[in-house]
């Protein structure tokens, strides 16, 4: 009996399944995000210390989580490519990179825009901010390495190795606020003993996180579909070129 990953190993099957799922996923993401924005702007009270600036947290925290989730997807896909040679693993890794990079950039921008009024500075070289900046450069490095190599199979393997080496950044980001003395506050949502955030602020934050996560998955599926199509186009173009070359070689010389 085939496992679900084996069933999905067939790109044609993946295209059929993702075409069915994608509209529902996109709709769910839009509705969840609309509800989250309603809660953020019309229901959530100002924080007793941050005031209305807490509204930035409703987009900053999900962006930071998804920045790390994007890299986790790349690392797992890279593992799937190198160990199991799953046909869609490299498609998944390649598709997740620009999306993860975008969320990392958003975490950095929104964090800076929160930091200026709260800390008095847009940027400080503390462990959390610096490690997230390194994550952003890692994403750029993965995309640059892949595009610099012409052979797709070699590019996939080398990118996967770099992705697995770079996975060390994830625990550094997560525990940076515990290991070093940072300006960035320690974990307050996901922590032992429960969240320290008031439920009136936690609710919009979690709903926003669910909405952005659904959007992430929808965008990842769409990017994977694009990549499958790109590879089909490339394969057909190569077939056409090879046939033309054979025809040219077989033609009698005048």
């Amino acid at each position: 009996m085939q496992t679900w990953t084996q069933k999905l190993a067939n790109p044609t099957r993946f295209m059929e399944l993702s075409a069915t799922i994608l509209p529902w996923l996109t709709g769910a993401a839009v509705l969840t995000l609309a509800y989250a924005m309603y809660l953020a702007f019309f229901v959530a009270p100002p924080d007793y210390q941050q005031g209305e600036t807490v509204k930035i947290m409703f987009i900053h925290v999900p962006a930071a989580w998804l920045a790390m989730m994007g890299y986790t997807v790349i690392a797992l896909s890279s593992f799937g490519l190198l160990v199991f040679r799953h046909p869609l693993a490299d498609v998944s890794a390649k598709a997740a990179a620009p999306i993860g990079a975008a969320f990392t950039l958003l975490a950095l921008i929104t964090g800076s825009l929160w930091g200026k009024p709260m800390w008095g500075t847009y940027w400080v070289w503390d462990a959390r901010l610096t490690s997230v900046l390194i994550l952003f450069f890692l994403y750029l490095g993965l995309m640059a390495l892949r595009s610099s190599l012409e052979d797709e199979s070699t590019a996939a393997k080398l990118t996967a190795v770099l992705a697995l080496v770079g996975v060390v950044i994830l625990p550094i980001i997560k525990f940076s606020v515990d290991w070093w003395n940072t300006l960035h506050q320690p974990a307050s949502v996901l922590k032992m003993g429960g969240s320290t955030i008031h439920p009136d602020l936690l609710r919009p934050l979690l709903i926003s996180a669910i909405g952005f996560s659904l959007l992430f998955v929808a965008m990842h599926l769409k990017a994977m579909r694009n990549e499958v199509l790109r590879r089909r186009v490339k394969a057909l173009t190569m077939a056409e070129v090879e046939r033309a070359a054979r025809g040219h070689a077989a033609a009698p010389a005048e």
């Binding site: 930035i56 987009i59 958003l106 199509l229 186009v233 173009t237």
Partner: protein, 59 residues
Amino acid sequence: MDLGPHAAFIWAAYAAEALVLAALIGWLFFDGARQKQQLADLERRGVTRRGSGPAKGTP
């Protein structure tokens, strides 16, 4: 809606979020449409993985 003395930072953060995500979504749709167009062009010319030219049985 009164967002207090730091309203500009809040609006700037949400604007950046909307801008980056809109650019990403726009690129995904543009890229998908381009790939579909290229695939349709190749299939219209009868290109298959086993070779190109009109399919058998077609005039």
